[in-house]
Amino acid sequence: MAEALLSVDGLCKAYGALTVSDNVSFEVAPGELHALIGPNGAGKTTLIHQLSGLLRSDSGHVRLGGEDITRLPMAERVHRGLARSFQITSILPGFSALENVALAAQARSGSSFRFFANAAREDDLNAQAMESLRTVGLQGRASTPAGVLSHGEKRLLELAIALATAPKALLLDEPLAGTGKEESQSVTATLRQLKGRFAIVLIEHDMEAVFALADRVSVLVYGKIIATGTPEQIRNDPAVREAYLGEEGEAAHA
């Protein structure tokens, strides 16, 4: 394996007596798609919050390209190339789809303490934004207010926004959450297209998508990683089958 781009070492987080991340360690190589699976409440989202800097970790380290970013605030991590999406769609509903993405481009293109020129007319930012929208197939919806996009389109917009930050690594928290069949296909197609271009941590409940896309899979249960391996290894791991995959049949009904 190549030198890790993202490396997580002994990360812990507790809410009072409840330990949500319990000594989590794993590595993601450049271009690797690393899936993180686990039952509801396993602590997957919490872990993404810790990696992205939205939540402070109690202990442990996060490194990006060798640099320790554990103490950096979220915005600084983004500038260093760590972008994320949210499980619960987080966009600017009153802005057009294009402006949602253009803002991400603006964040890394010169100072934003400019007070006079109209930002919406900056061709360079708009062109970069359009490029990201095209990658996810939303170019036709550029001028639509983000708030009135369909749910599936909003999920794609989340991806386009993350892409426009020019990331090295992407943390994707259930990009398929709440999507219908057709929508989930277009999101999966987009993920396939992103695979290999970035180091990706993908949280997903949709096992079909996970096993189709992932290079490696880590299984998180009660905040602990109980196994890491290729999709094949994980499918056949007895501990995983017992702790997680065995429940899939029931979980699917929930």
């Binding site: 983004v78 987080s90 991400a104 400019r114 007070f115 020129a117 930002a119 001028s143 009135v148 426009a164």
Partner: protein
Amino acid sequence: MSAAGTDIAVTAKARQAVGGRERAIIATFVLLALAPIAAQAGPQGYIIDLITRMMIFAIAALSLDLILGYGAMVSFGHAAFIGLGAYAVGILASHGVTDFVVQLAAALAAAAVFAFVTGALSLRTKGVYFIMITLAFSQMLFFFGVSLSAYGGDDGLSLPERSRLFGLPLFSSDKGLFYATLACLIGCYLLCRAIVASRFGRVLRGARENPVRMTAIGFSPYRFQLVAYVISGMMAALAGALLANQTGFVSPAYMSWQRSGELLAMTIFGGVGTLVGPIIGAMAFLALEEWLAGLTEHWKMIFGPLLVCVVLFARGGIMGLAARIGGKRDG
């Protein structure tokens, strides 16, 4: 596709609202510019004085809208900045410094420092706490004003003379002050409009809608909100400097919490987050106050409930109401 239909409707509606606002503000400025001429038919001095006052508060409400409407910062202490501007003029004038450029520079500097320090602390809090802490800071300044016995303390102080511009007594005539105020109002409006659409304004607006999203693309909303707070405070100080000239008098009452409340009411009354709304709101507010006060001495009994009704039933204030009426008429 029905979704595409809704977008077009949404975009068209938004564009229509902006177009309507544009027409409203141009009409307002033209009417204001002509007002002194029309006033010749009536009690000219009284009318010019009243409209000057209305425009001064329009500047203050506009400055509040910049942070309230575009930054979701509910400041309950905005009158403090009016007070700072007014006292800068009053104190300097009492020492014989009557040049408006110097007075204004002092007013803006004082407001910038006060906004920076109090904003840096206040913006660490959110929601109700932000409201309370801005109120607390303005009350501190109010009581500081009361304790300034050298400058009249509780009673305030009278201006020995109105400000001069480059030695010229431009403000000494009511008409001179009127047009200077109008020029300031138009300038502040154009400035706010540019800011709101700029890179800076876009970050501010984004942080109003979803601060976590803005952080997740690499912005620190705090810095942008703080700068907006400083700009807004300085603009309100300009209103204060003009107010001191208009009334010829400065007192701690300018900084009272009631004044801050009135500024909020004017802004909400006109329509938050529209820039045009608060300008019209402030002027309508003062006109209504003046008219009701002429009708009965118990005018506050009518005025209070009326404001409550507008806020409750006409969401989006005057601008919201106008947009709905316009929308209905155009089908």
